[in-house]
Symmetry: C2
DNA sequence: CGATGTGAAATGCTTCACAGCA
DNA sequence: TGCTGTGAAGCATTTCACATCG
């Protein structure tokens, strides 16, 4: 269910602002979906609401966390410590949601040894040792396009089970498995598309403000 | 149609590797969707295929570009020149797809004056002048959470019509308009979700590799 | 009463299957 | 003959509407 992360964020924000209880109508209006849809979605996790009152915000967050598997710790390695690699390493969400940066790798001698957060950047050659040490769940590729394929191959060979490719190149890993790249600008493409197509109620008097939510398509 | 950007990327990659013609079956298998679905999707843009042969790759890319509005130039301003701001400014996709970085803004004196690409970082106070000068389509918020709301308000006030918020905070702009944040780590949340839920055919012998595609949910 | 939880209707999307054209 | 383009069937998702419960 792709809407759960959206609900979760809104709930977390509501929690931060002191809301203890939330109705399907409020949550729906904030998520821009029908209230009935919200109830259907949430009912798949169990019956947590209390009729007449609504849902307990904190409890609901906990349930969604459980459903999304966020009570795990997901150890990851970031390869390529340029601007994007650094941004990822610092990312709020990583720390907050159980994604733990276990290693930072690069081949540039001027970067190796640098400390980002609590992690020291090491040479990419150390990958096999690191994977052997700590079972890494996720490899993040943040290298230039030219290096990406080699990095992907080595990550797989070392036993990393999931890749997230930010290098601007489509990679192949094993027979038939195509690894697309996640490019920040694609958000804007899509935004411009909606912008040009859809009419926005009240847009004459109100600035057209858009936000982009993310969902995933997985390639098996 | 959320699949168009996916097709487009694959087509661009095919073009780069010298493919001049592509069948719905090939494109479908690369995009991991049914061939009939591909044909239905593409038929909405017009009838560009030639029966018996397939689609002309380059022509198809051009048509999708047109459909997505990528033949426009989208001038944008990035506010907050930290790691993420820099990564965005350098982003391949921006340059390649008509998103033009018109201005880079920050308040930190040690950053102001720095040249990134061809653009010099200016003080955030220059925003009104810049917007007056050049009609900016998109404001990208890449500041710390604490500054984000103020930046959003000023962007709107200055007449910027679309915002993309990367600051880890939910913002409000005008009455009722909620501006969520785009957090890179949400990809991983979703990935872990799929990882724990779905069985992957052949995963016993093959490393479980995942790639994330992006689609958008817009909030009106 | 007010808001959930959920059958049932409505709507939209995906897949099939095949006619039709290069 | 091979592959597109597209009605029609099949399937899933969304919405409605209301019984139900705190």
């Amino acid at each position: 269910m792709g809407r759960l992360p959206v609900y979760q964020r809104i709930l977390e924000e509501l929690l931060r602002s002191g809301t203890t209880t939330v109705s399907s109508e409020l949550l729906g209006s904030l998520a821009r979906v029908n209230a009935a849809k919200v109830r259907k979605d949430l009912s798949l996790l169990g019956s947590f609401g209390t009729r007449g009152a609504g849902y307990d915000t904190a409890f609901l967050v906990a349930q969604i966390d459980r459903e999304l598997g966020l009570n795990h710790v997901w150890p990851m390695v970031i390869v390529g410590i340029g601007n994007l690699g650094r941004a990822l390493a610092h990312s709020q969400g990583f720390i907050a949601r159980g994604f733990q940066v276990m290693a930072l790798l690069d081949t540039d001698p001027t970067v190796i040894g640098e400390e980002i957060g609590d992690v020291v950047v090491r040479h990419f050659d150390a990958l096999p040792d690191i994977v052997a040490d700590q079972s890494l769940a996720i490899g993040v590729i943040a290298t230039p396009a030219s290096a990406a394929q080699g990095v992907a191959d080595l990550l797989v060979e070392s036993g990393v089970h999931s890749l997230l490719n930010f290098a601007p190149k489509v990679l192949t890993v094993g027979p038939e498995i195509l690894l697309r790249y996640v490019d920040l600008s694609i958000e804007l493409q899509i935004m411009s598309f909606y912008q040009s197509r859809r009419s926005i109620p009240g847009s004459e008097v109100m600035p057209v403000i858009r936000s982009i939510g993310l969902t995933s398509a997985n390639l098996d």
